[in-house]
Structures are given as C-alpha cells and as structure tokens.
C-alpha cells in the first residue's frame, strides 16, 4: 500500500529509486568481500589474546544488562574458541566459500561475542556487527537473467543501506564533536600521540583548525558518499582520512582498515572491474581439477577439508584450538553440501585457504597473539591470587616466545613472590640479556637482591634501572635505602613526569 503511494508521487518515486536503482558491479563486490572479510579474519584472530579477561573472577556485565541474570557468562575457553571460529568463517567468506550460511553463522557468532560483555566496548565492533547483519542480505554473485539481452544487475539495496549506515556514523560522530573542548582543539591535542602527526597539525594551522577540519570532513563524507558524481573524490578523501587517523597513533584496533575496506564500495568501478577481469584472465580458474575424474575431485575436496582442519591444530592455545579444529572440520564438510554443486571446489579451496591463514597468523613470528593469550591469562590469575596457575601460564608464554624480556620479568616476579629467588634471578638475568636497554630486568634483580640483603648488588642493579628509567619509584626507593645504609649520598630525586602514574605492568590489558 505504502509502496504504491510512494510510486504515485514524483518525490516518492525518486526516493524508491535511491534504493532500487543502486547497482554494484560483481567484481567490486568480490574485491570488497576479499578485503573486508580478510581484515575481519585478522581482527578476530587478534581478539583471541583478550579471551582470558572474559569470565575472570566470575564477573561480567553484558551490553544488555537486563539479560545478565538469564545468560551464561562466556569464559576464556569459550571466547577463544568462538574467536578462532569467527576468524575461520571470515577467511572462508573472504575467499568465496561457505555461501550465505557461513555469513549468517559469522554474523550470529559475532553478535554473541560482542553483546555478551561490555569488556568489548569498541564502537567499531558494534558497527561491524551491523554491517555483517546487512551483508547477510547481499546477493554476492548477482548474474543477469540468462537470455535477456542487456539485462542489468539486480538492485544492491543492502549495499546502499551499509553506506547509509556509514553516513549515520559520520553524522553522529560529528555531532559528538560539537563541543567547545573539541572545537578549540584540546581533545585532539590529548588524543594524538605520534610526534610527526603533532608537528604536521601545527604546520597545518594548529589543533583547533584541524579539529574543525575533522568535523567538516565527517559531515562532507556523510553526504558525498551517496553522490555518484563525487565518487572519484570521496574514496580518496575517505581513505586518506582513515589512513591519517590510523597513523596518528589512536588505539582503535583495526577500525581504520575496516573503513578503508568499506570505501572499496565507492571506488570508481571501471578500473576495479578491469583489474578483476585481468586477474581472471591471467590466473588459472580455481577448479583446477575440472578435467579430473569425479572420484579424484571428491578425494581432493576431502583432502583439502581434512588438511585445513589439521592446520588449525597448529594454533598453539590448547583446548580451544583443538575443539575449533574439530568444529571447523565439521563446518568445512557441511559447507560442501550447503553450497551449490559448481561451487564445491571453490568452497574446499576457500576452507583450506582460511585454515592456512589462521595457522599462519598463529605463528609466534607473525603475531604475538598466542604468547599474549598466555601472558594475559597469567596476569589475570596472578592478580586474582592463583600464583600456581599464573606461573604455569607465564612458562607457556616463554615457551612460545623465549626472546620476550617482559615475560621473563613477569615469571621472575612470580618466582620471587613464591620464595624461589634462584629461579627469579635466572629470569632477571635473561631479561637483562634480552633487553639490555630496558629497566625491568634490573629492577627485578634489585628487588631480589634487596630482599636477600645484598646491599651492594641491590644498589648497583637499582642504579642501572634508574639509568634506564630515571623516574622508576621502586628502584629509587631501593637505591636511597641502600645508599643511606652504606653511608653514601642519596641519589638524585626523580623528576616528576606525566608517565609516573601510568602502570608499567604490560600484562595488564
């Protein structure tokens, strides 16, 4: 009824066309899918390190507190498992496997993990949930109806809706900055940490001017993103804007990369279409086994699915990875039957590619996620008083990354707390060796020697720590005390520094 009424009115017809006549070339969608879900796969893997904070001390507040009493608290192993699964599903979708079912599963799991706890209050994760929700409705491989000459692609209204959502975000982000503190540049001055960015802002006219420019850019992008004739300007400006935010040192996870991925949708189509068509011409078609016998194809698909699941076993975070491997095996197999017959080879290869990516990202030399998973787990256990568990987790972190000095310091501190000063000293020496410019190894040595009454040794180590960090309070206290006891003049007072109030324990997230 309403639709007919809108159709009857010229303005209504124009409004309907805004949704119905929006088209996106399949090649552009393919590039967007690869970039967006690729970034999402990496982001989900990076979340694994934060899993130990969930359920710690049996405390949780979800984003929907009214439901807290009725929902189970998701704990560390469950969250680690769910993040691994989401990383796999995102990589699978990025490479064109799994079909819509994989996307719906990904969006659902993402919603569960995000809304289950306010520990994740990143607004961009909320935005990603909304985008995923709408992406479930996109026709990823819209093909013109066969036999119809000149047939066009079907309407891509979900993509239009995503762009409208981005406009809403820009608009409200600009409204949030309509505040005298933002307007005069004070907020931005506190937020920008990178030295080069501060210098550049000063050269451009100062923080107040650049703050106003940020608001103007957000408002302009909110509108221009929908104007086809402005596309050639919008995408470069938007990408530059988010690249600048990323480079300025903001702690916003992969938000900038997600926004850059979204700008793929508004890049001028023709070059992207040509690029994708060139790739298709020059890279052999994915079903390399087309000419093989049907039985060989089944065996190859099964091998890809099994090999992929086996690769996930290389993710070194224990039980969550083992369970994820089994579930991924089941999902990979089920996916073969969910996707259409002609897409089965692609699904099997996408599954293998997704698992390969996961195993690659999990390698200690590539990301520090597995090491930090155990470090953060150990830090959490230590603060909540479980020193035995904390020691075990730090030992595992060191197994994964023997060259990480801070892990040795944390383990040494634990040994010292439990009266194992020989082992503590061994860790302190290792930390000093691994990071001779860092103060933490020397501070730990000073603490150990101080506790055992070795005045000269404690003083020497404390002074080495102070050379490296002049405002280190504990080192200063040890040095002062032993200098007094040994009849020496007191050390120079540490200068008051803005950093002294910061926590130095890197195991605190």
């Amino acid at each position: 009824m309403l639709l007919e009424r809108l159709e009857a009115h010229p303005l209504g017809r124009r409004y309907l066309r805004f949704w119905t006549e929006y088209r996106v070339a399949p090649e552009v969608l393919a590039v967007f899918r690869l970039v967006f879900f690729g970034v999402l796969a990496v982001d989900m893997w990076l979340q694994v390190q934060h899993a130990p904070r969930y359920g710690a001390g049996d405390f949780n507040v979800s984003h929907l507190p009214a439901l807290d009493a009725h929902l189970p608290v998701l704990t560390r192993p469950a969250m680690a498992f769910l993040y691994i699964l989401q990383a796999y599903l995102a990589a699978l979708v990025a490479l064109g496997g799994g079909g819509r079912a994989a996307l719906v599963a990904l969006a659902s799991l993402y919603g569960v993990t995000y809304f289950s706890s306010q520990l994740d209050s990143y607004q961009h994760h909320y935005l990603m949930f909304l985008v995923l929700l709408v992406l479930c409705l996109v026709r990823w491989d819209p093909e013109p109806e066969p036999g119809r000459k000149g047939a066009t692609q079907p309407s891509a209204w979900p993509v239009r809706l995503i762009l409208v959502q981005i406009s809403i975000v820009y608009l409200y982000a600009a409204i949030a900055k309509m505040d005298v503190l933002w307007w005069d540049g004070r907020v931005m001055e506190l937020q920008i940490s990178a030295g080069w960015a501060r210098d550049l802002i000063e050269k451009l006219g100062g923080f107040s001017f650049v703050s106003k420019m940020v608001i103007a850019t957000e408002l302009s992008l909110a509108v221009a993103i929908h104007v086809r004739s402005l596309r050639r300007f919008v995408a470069p400006i938007g990408i530059l804007f988010h690249t600048g935010i990323e480079a300025s040192g903001f702690q916003i996870g992969l938000f900038s990369y997600f926004m850059i991925a979204v700008y793929v949708l508004v890049l001028p189509e023709a070059p992207l279409v040509r690029l994708v068509q060139w790739v298709h011409r020059h890279v052999p078609a994915i079903p390399l086994v087309t000419r093989w016998a049907p039985l060989a194809r089944i065996i190859l698909r099964a091998s890809a699915i099994a090999l992929g699941a086996a690769l996930v076993l290389l993710v070194p975070i224990g039980a969550p990875a083992l369970v994820a491997s089994a579930v991924i095996l089941a999902l990979g197999t089920a996916g073969i039957y969910v996707v259409s017959r002609e897409r089965r080879d692609r699904h099997a290869l996408a599954h293998l590619g997704g698992c390969l990516l996961l195993a690659f990202l999990a390698r200690p030399g590539v990301t520090d996620v597995a090491r930090d998973y155990y470090r953060f787990w150990g830090g959490s256990a230590r603060r909540l008083g479980d020193l035995a568990a904390a020691t075990e987790k730090y030992q595992r972190a060191i197994e994964l990354a023997p060259g990480h000095a801070q892990s040795h310091v944390s383990l040494g501190n634990l040994y010292q707390m439990t009266g194992k000063s020989d082992l503590a000293m061994r860790e302190a020496e290792r930390a000093e060796l691994l990071d001779p410019d860092g103060y933490r190894g020397y501070l730990l040595e000073a603490i150990i020697r101080d506790a055992s009454g070795e005045g000269h040794g404690a003083l020497a180590a404390a002074e080495k720590a102070l050379e490296r960090k002049p405002d280190e309070r504990q080192a200063f206290q040890i040095a002062s005390r032993w200098r007094r006891q040994l009849g020496m003049p007191p050390p120079e007072r540490p200068s008051a520094s803005s950093r002294t109030e910061q926590r130095d324990d890197e195991d605190d997230e």
Binding site: H63, S121, Q123, I168, A176
Partner: protein, 126 residues
C-alpha cells in the same frame, strides 16, 4: 524491491537514528557512549577514580575484578560500577558498600558523580 525489504530498511534506519539520540535525551550516564557513535569525544577522555568501601575499608579493586573491568570503571560507566557494587554486596552480606567516584574532565574540572553517601546494597544504583 519487495515489501519485506522496504520494511526492513526503514525499521533498521529508524533504530539506527533513534538509538544514538537516546544518549542525548534519555541516557542517565554521560560516560556511557555505547551505540551513540561518539568516537574520540571529550567524555571518552575523562579519567575517573572509583573508590569502593565495604564498611569503612577501601576495596582493592585489582584483587576483586579483572583489570579490564577496572579500566571500564575508570571511564565512569555506571552499569559496570553498579554491577561491581552488587558483587561486593553479595560477598560482604550485612555490610554497607559505598562508592566515591570522582572524574577529571579534559578541561581539568573535577566532577563527583557519586559522593559515597549511601549504601549501594540498599539503593542498588549510583
């Protein structure tokens, strides 16, 4: 476009326009900026200091709650502070739990959203 798609679009948009507006017109906690797209706002830069007391004894939050929750509490988020209070009430039956919450804003003003005057076990909210 199908009728179902048309309805979906407009319900979705109505929610996405209305939800951030609740921050400005209906939310009781200005430090709770979730779902309002207030990235990099001045409120986000405020630093709060929550001081819980059970009876007259200050609570060492680090021994009760994970550092992640303490970080959220230092942003002054009421939902979390109230849940922390509820936890302390459960763990210390019969004893009053109070919260003194002071927040320092970007322009160095000190606000006191909770002065620690009442027992949160009785009242439930800040």
């Amino acid at each position: 476009m199908t009728r179902r798609a048309f309805v979906f679009i407009h319900v979705y948009l109505a929610l996405q326009i209305a939800l951030p507006l609740t921050y400005y017109f209906a939310r009781r906690d200005k430090y709770d900026e979730r779902f309002a797209w207030r990235m990099f706002s001045a409120e986000r830069m405020a630093v709060c200091r929550p001081l819980f007391k059970v009876g007259d004894t200050p609570v060492a939050l680090g021994k009760e709650f994970h550092e992640g929750w303490i970080s959220v509490a230092r942003r002054g988020r009421r939902d979390v502070l109230e849940a922390m209070a509820a936890r302390l009430c459960d763990k210390n039956p019969g004893q009053p739990v109070t919260l003194e919450l002071t927040c320092k804003t970007v322009d160095n003003k000190v606000e006191t959203p909770s002065a620690g005057l009442w027992n949160l076990c009785d009242r439930g909210h800040i």
